[in-house]
C-alpha cells in the first residue's frame, strides 16, 4: 500500500467539497475518487469520512438524497448546495494563498541549504 499523508485539519472538508463538484456521489464514491485522483496518496478513513459528510450536511454546504447505485442498491447521494459552492470558492482561495506561502518558505530554505 502506498504511504499516506496525514490530512491537514480542515482539509478533508475541502477535498469532499471539491470532489462533489463533479456531481452527486455517495460516501463510498467520494472516498474512492479522492483515493484515485490523489493516486492512492490520500486514503480517507471511513471513521472520519462519514462524520465529515454529516457535519457538512448539518452546516448546509451539501445536501443528500437517497437514490439507486450503479448496481441497483439504495445509496445516499451527496451533492453540493449553493452555499457549499460559495464556501468551496472561499476555502480554495484560502488554500491557494496558504500553499503559495508554504511553497515560498520551502523554496527559500531549499536555496539556503546547499
Amino acid at each position: 500500500m502506498a504511504e499516506t499523508t496525514d490530512l491537514l485539519q480542515g482539509t478533508l472538508d475541502l477535498l469532499i467539497l471539491q470532489t462533489l463538484v463533479a456531481g452527486p456521489m455517495h460516501g463510498w464514491g467520494v472516498a474512492q475518487r479522492i483515493q484515485q485522483v490523489s493516486k492512492d496518496v490520500l486514503q480517507i478513513g471511513q471513521g472520519s469520512l462519514y462524520p465529515a459528510l454529516h457535519r457538512l450536511e448539518y452546516k448546509g454546504w451539501i445536501a443528500s438524497d437517497w437514490g439507486n447505485s450503479e448496481n441497483n442498491r439504495r445509496a445516499k447521494y451527496y451533492r453540493l448546495t449553493a452555499t457549499g459552492k460559495k464556501q468551496l470558492e472561499a476555502e480554495l482561495a484560502t488554500w491557494e494563498r496558504l500553499s503559495a506561502a508554504i511553497a515560498l518558505v520551502l523554496g527559500n530554505s531549499a536555496e539556503v541549504q546547499p
Partner: protein, 874 residues
C-alpha cells in the same frame, strides 16, 4: 442565513435513526464488491471490508455527535436522571428544598424591605447629583434653611445648577362633597424641575403662581387623583376646595412621587412666600433646601464652595449660638435614611448569614448524598462516563434543586413580607413601599444559582476518586472533613446571629422595664383635631375644649380629666433653647444655646391624671385657671439645672425673650420625654388658663378612669358627638401609645430573633446530620471495639466527643467574631454594652445545650447497636 435555517431544521427534526446504518451498510457492501472484483472470495472480501472500515459503532456515534441540537437531548436526559434520583430519595429532596426555601425566602423578603432603604434609586432624575443643603443647629435635628438666608444662598452659590426649597407639609382639609383630611406640601416654583419630576398630566406651577396673592393653584398626587377623582383626566383646571378656599388643579404628580424629606403630600401647593420680606426677615421662615450638583462636582467640593454664603448666614445668627451652627450638604438618601440605615444593614447581614447557613446545610446534604453514591459514580465512570459528564450531571441536580428552592422561597417570601408589614410599626421609613418586584425575583434567582454552583461543585470535585477503591469502600474520609468544616462554620455564623439577637432582646427588655414616669393604666388619651376652616379663632377652640372637658367629667368611671397640648407618650412636644430662659434678678446666661428644653401647656389636673408627683411646692390650682397671671411648674431636671440646690418656688421666670413673666409654683418629677431611648430633656409646664391667649393650639384630653378600653371609647365618642358630631375623635389608651413608642425596637428584635432561631435550627440540623453520618460510617468499627471489650459508655464518649469538638470549635470562633462585630450595633442598643457578658453567656449556654442534644441522639443510637449486627454491617 441558509446555514442557520438548516441547523434549526436539523435541531428540530434530526435524522431517522436507521439512516446512518443504511448508509454505512451500503459502504461495506460497496467495499466488498470492490474486493471481489480484485479477486477475493466473497467471505474474505467482506471480512477485509469490515477490517478496513474499523469500528462501525464508533463511526455511528461520531456521526450522531455532529448533530447541532445534541446538547438539548443531553440536558433533558440529565434532568430526567436527576428527577428519578430525587424520587428515590424524597427525604433528601424535601430537606434540601425546604432549607433552600427558608434561606431564599427570608433573604428575598428582607431584601424587599431594605432594597428601597439602601439600594433603590430615588424617584428623581439623576438622583446621584441631588443633595439636601442647609444649616444644622440644636433646634431642628435635620438640616434646614431660614428665609433670611435662603435667597442669598440661592442667588450666590456656585456649586449647583439648580437650587430649590420647600416649606414642609401641613394637614389640610379637602372640603368638598367627599371631605377628607389630607397633607398639603408647599414648594418653590422650581422645585419639581430641580428634582427632575414632570407632572403626568397638566403642568408645573408658573412663576407668577408662586407669589403672595397669586392665583391659587395646586398639583395633586396620583393617589388622591385615583381615590377622589377616579383618574378622570378632566381634573386639570377643575376647582377644588381646600380648607374652604377654591384652588385650581393644574396637574397630577407621577405615581412614584415623594417629597425628598418623605413628608406625606396629597397636594402640592406653591409656597408663595414674599421674597423681599423674607430677605429682610430675621430669622425668617424655616425652609428645607435641595439642590442639583453641577456635573462632576463632589459633595465635599460643593460644601467648600458654599462657605461664603454659609458665613453670611452665620453672621445673621445670634452671636452666642454661632458655634453650634454648622453647614451640612448630604445626599437625599442619607437625609431620608439617617436613622434606619444601620438597622437595615444589620437585618441584611442577618439574612445573609441565614442564607449562608442554609447553603452550607444543603452542601453538606449534597456531599452526604455524593458519598453514598460514590460506588454508583465509580461504576458509571468505569462504563465510560467522562469526568465532565459526571460534573455536568451533579450541576444539573444542583440547578434543579435551586430552582425548586427558589420557587418555594418566592412563595415564602411573599408570605413573610406580608407578616413583616403587619408586624411593622407605621413609623418605619418607607416600609409600606416594600414589595416583591422583578428586580428582587432576579436577585433571588441569582442567589439560588450561586447556591447551586457552590454546593454543586463541592461534591462534583470529589467524584470520582480511584475507581477500584471507591467501588469497594463506603465513602471517603475527605468529604467528612469538608462536612465537619461546614458545620463548624455554621455554628460560628449562627452564634454571631444569636448573640446579636440576644443583645437586642436584652436592650428591648431594658426599654420595656424602664418607667415612663407616668401612670398609663386606666388612662385614655382623647385627641380631637379640630377642622381648621370651621374652628378658626382661639375663642372657638377654647369653647369647644372647655365643653369637652366638662362633658368628660360627667362620664361614669372617669376620675380625673386633664388637658395638655402634647403627651410624653405621643412623642412630640414644644421645644425651646435653654439659654433663652431668663430668671428675674439674674443676668441672662452665657455661651451657646445650652441645649433644648421641652415644654407643655397643661391644665391643673394633668399631673394627677398621669400621677406625676409634685416633689416641691404645689401643683396648679383650679382658681389659677381664671387668673390674669402666668404660672409655671419645672421638672426636677430643669429646676436643678437652673437653681441648683436653691428653692425655685416663688422665683419669676421668662421662658421666651420679651414674653410674659411666669411665677414658679412647684417642681414635678421627671418624665421620659424624648422617646423611650433618648436622654431625658429638662422640661417645664405652663398652666393653660381659660383665656384665649393660651388657646392657639388644640388640646389632648387625658382621662384617668376605672373603665376598660372597650367600654370607654364609645361613651367618650358619644359625649364629644353631642358637642359637635362632625369632628374626628381618636381614643387610645396610654399603654397603647407607650407600646407604640417601643414598636421599632420590638420589630427589630423580633426580626433578628426569628432569623437567629432559623439559623440555629439549621446549624443544629447540620450538626445532627454529620454526627449521625459519622456514627453510621463507624458502625463496623464500633462492633469491633465492642467485641474487644469497649463498654457502651466508651462508645457514647467516642461519638459524642466528635460533636463536642465541633461545637467547641465553632462556638469559640463564633464568640470571637460576634465580640468583634457587636460594637457596630452599639447605636441600636439601649443600656446594654456591646460586650454584655450575660447575653454572651446565655447564647453560649443555649448553644451548648441544643448542640449536645443534637449530638447525643445519634451517639445514643450508636451506643445501642448490637455488636453482632455492627460487625456484619456493610
Amino acid at each position: 442565513m441558509g446555514e442557520i435555517l438548516t441547523r434549526v431544521r436539523f435541531m428540530l427534526s434530526g435524522k431517522l435513526p436507521g439512516e446512518v446504518d443504511d448508509e454505512l451498510r451500503f459502504h461495506i457492501e460497496a467495499a466488498t464488491e470492490a474486493n471481489i472484483a480484485a479477486g477475493m472470495t466473497r467471505d474474505e472480501a467482506r471480512r477485509q471490508a469490515l477490517v478496513e472500515f474499523g469500528g462501525m459503532e464508533r463511526t455511528r456515534e461520531q456521526c450522531y455527535e455532529e448533530r447541532p441540537g445534541r446538547w438539548m437531548g443531553t440536558v433533558a436526559q440529565d434532568g430526567r436522571y436527576a428527577l428519578r434520583g430525587f424520587r428515590r430519595n424524597p427525604v433528601f429532596t424535601i430537606a434540601v428544598i425546604a432549607t433552600l426555601a427558608v434561606g431564599i425566602g427570608a433573604t428575598t423578603a428582607v431584601f424587599s424591605v431594605v432594597d428601597r432603604i439602601l439600594f433603590r434609586p430615588l424617584p428623581y432624575a439623576h438622583d446621584d447629583r441631588l443633595v439636601s443643603v442647609g444649616l444644622v443647629a440644636p433646634i431642628i435635628p435635620q438640616e434646614f434653611m431660614l428665609g433670611g438666608s435662603y435667597y442669598e444662598w440661592r442667588d450666590h452659590q456656585q456649586a449647583f445648577e439648580a437650587f430649590t426649597s420647600e416649606t414642609g407639609a401641613n394637614t389640610c382639609d379637602l372640603t368638598e362633597r367627599n371631605p377628607a383630611r389630607l397633607s398639603c406640601a408647599s414648594v418653590e416654583q422650581n422645585f419639581l424641575p430641580t428634582l427632575g419630576i414632570v407632572p403626568i398630566l397638566g403642568r408645573n406651577f408658573l412663576p407668577e403662581e408662586d407669589r403672595p396673592n397669586g392665583p391659587r393653584v395646586a398639583l395633586i398626587s396620583y393617589g388622591l387623583w385615583s381615590s377622589h377623582y377616579g383618574l378622570d383626566p378632566g381634573i386639570v383646571n377643575r376647582r377644588i376646595d381646600i380648607d374652604g378656599t377654591q384652588v385650581r388643579v393644574v396637574g397630577v404628580l407621577p405615581k412614584d412621587f415623594e417629597m425628598p424629606a418623605l413628608e406625606a403630600a396629597d397636594i402640592v401647593l406653591p409656597q408663595a412666600l414674599d421674597e423681599a420680606a423674607q430677605r429682610r426677615a430675621d430669622p425668617g421662615r424655616v425652609m428645607y433646601a435641595f439642590a442639583r450638583l453641577k456635573p462632576g462636582l463632589t459633595i465635599a467640593q460643593a460644601e467648600a464652595a458654599l462657605q461664603p454664603v454659609f458665613n453670611y448666614s452665620l453672621n445673621l445668627a445670634p452671636a452666642p449660638f454661632r458655634k453650634e451652627v454648622h453647614l451640612r450638604v448630604r445626599s437625599i438618601r442619607d437625609r431620608q435614611m439617617h436613622d434606619v440605615r444601620l438597622a437595615a444593614w444589620v437585618l441584611l447581614g442577618a439574612v445573609a448569614a441565614v442564607l449562608l447557613i442554609a447553603c452550607a446545610n444543603v452542601s453538606s446534604l449534597m456531599i452526604a448524598r455524593a458519598t453514598q453514591r460514590e460506588r454508583e459514580l465509580a461504576v458509571r465512570s468505569a462504563l465510560g462516563a467522562s469526568r465532565m459528564w459526571l460534573l455536568r450531571q451533579t450541576l444539573t441536580e444542583a440547578f434543579l434543586l435551586s430552582l425548586a428552592g427558589a420557587t418555594a422561597g418566592c412563595l415564602l417570601a411573599e408570605v413573610l413580607l406580608r407578616v413583616f408589614l403587619d408586624l411593622a410599626p407605621t413609623g418605619i421609613t418607607l416600609l409600606n413601599h416594600a414589595q416583591l418586584d422583578g428586580r428582587i425575583i432576579v436577585f433571588t434567582i441569582f442567589v439560588s444559582l450561586a447556591c447551586g454552583v457552590v454546593f454543586g461543585l463541592f461534591p462534583a470535585l470529589y467524584a470520582p476518586g480511584s475507581i477500584s477503591t471507591a467501588a469497594r469502600s463506603n465513602g471517603s474520609g475527605r468529604t467528612v472533613w469538608l462536612r465537619r468544616g461546614l458545620v463548624v462554620g455554621q455554628i460560628a455564623v449562627s452564634m454571631i446571629l444569636l448573640s446579636g439577637a440576644a443583645l437586642l432582646a436584652r436592650s428591648f427588655r431594658n426599654i420595656e422595664l424602664q418607667g415612663m414616669g407616668i401612670e398609663t393604666r386606666g388612662v385614655f388619651s382623647v385627641r380631637i383635631p379640630l377642622p381648621r376652616y370651621r374652628y378658626t379663632t382661639p375663642q372657638q377652640r377654647m369653647e369647644f375644649f372647655l365643653q369637652a372637658e366638662q362633658a368628660m367629667r360627667h362620664l361614669p368611671g372617669v376620675l380625673k380629666v386633664g388637658t395638655s397640648d402634647s403627651l410624653p407618650s405621643g412623642g412630640q412636644h414644644g421645644e425651646q433653647i435653654y439659654n433663652n430662659i431668663a430668671v428675674e434678678g439674674r443676668p441672662r446666661a452665657g455661651e451657646g444655646t445650652g441645649g433644648m428644653v421641652a415644654w407643655r401647656l397643661v391644665s391643673p389636673e394633668y399631673f394627677s391624671a398621669l400621677e406625676i408627683p409634685i416633689v416641691r411646692g404645689r401643683g396648679f390650682t383650679i382658681e389659677e385657671r381664671s387668673s390674669k397671671d402666668h404660672f409655671l411648674i419645672l421638672s426636677s431636671l430643669l429646676a436643678t439645672r437652673m437653681f441648683g440646690a436653691n428653692d425655685p418656688v416663688g422665683q419669676r421666670v421668662q421662658p421666651i425673650p420679651d414674653g410674659p413673666w411666669y411665677l414658679v409654683v412647684g417642681v414635678a418629677a421627671n418624665v421620659k420625654n424624648a422617646g423611650l431611648t433618648g436622654a431625658d430633656e429638662p422640661e417645664y409646664y405652663r398652666l393653660r388658663r381659660d383665656s384665649i391667649e393660651d388657646w392657639n393650639a388644640d388640646a389632648d384630653l387625658v382621662l384617668k378612669t376605672s373603665l376598660n378600653a372597650q367600654a370607654a371609647a364609645p361613651w367618650i365618642r358619644t359625649q364629644i358627638a353631642q358637642i359637635d358630631p362632625t369632628v374626628p375623635v381618636q381614643v387610645e389608651t396610654l399603654s397603647q401609645q407607650v407600646s407604640r413608642l417601643a414598636d421599632r425596637p420590638r420589630f427589630e428584635t423580633a426580626l433578628l430573633g426569628f432569623f437567629a432561631c432559623c439559623g440555629m435550627l439549621m446549624a443544629v440540623i447540620g450538626l445532627y446530620g454529620v454526627i449521625a453520618f459519622v456514627a453510621t460510617q463507624r458502625t463496623q468499627e464500633i462492633g469491633v471495639r465492642m467485641a474487644l471489650g469497649a463498654t457502651r459508655g466508651n462508645i457514647l464518649r467516642l461519638i459524642a466527643g466528635e460533636g463536642v469538638r465541633l461545637i467547641l470549635l465553632g462556638g469559640l470562633l463564633g464568640l470571637g467574631a460576634s465580640l468583634a462585630m457587636a460594637q457596630w450595633m452599639q447605636s441600636l442598643l439601649f443600656n446594654v454594652g456591646p460586650r454584655d457578658p450575660l447575653s454572651f453567656l446565655m447564647v453560649g449556654t443555649v448553644f451548648a445545650l441544643v448542640g449536645l442534644a443534637a449530638t447525643l441522639i445519634p451517639a445514643r443510637a450508636a451506643m445501642k447497636v448490637e455488636p453482632v449486627v455492627a460487625l456484619r454491617y456493610e
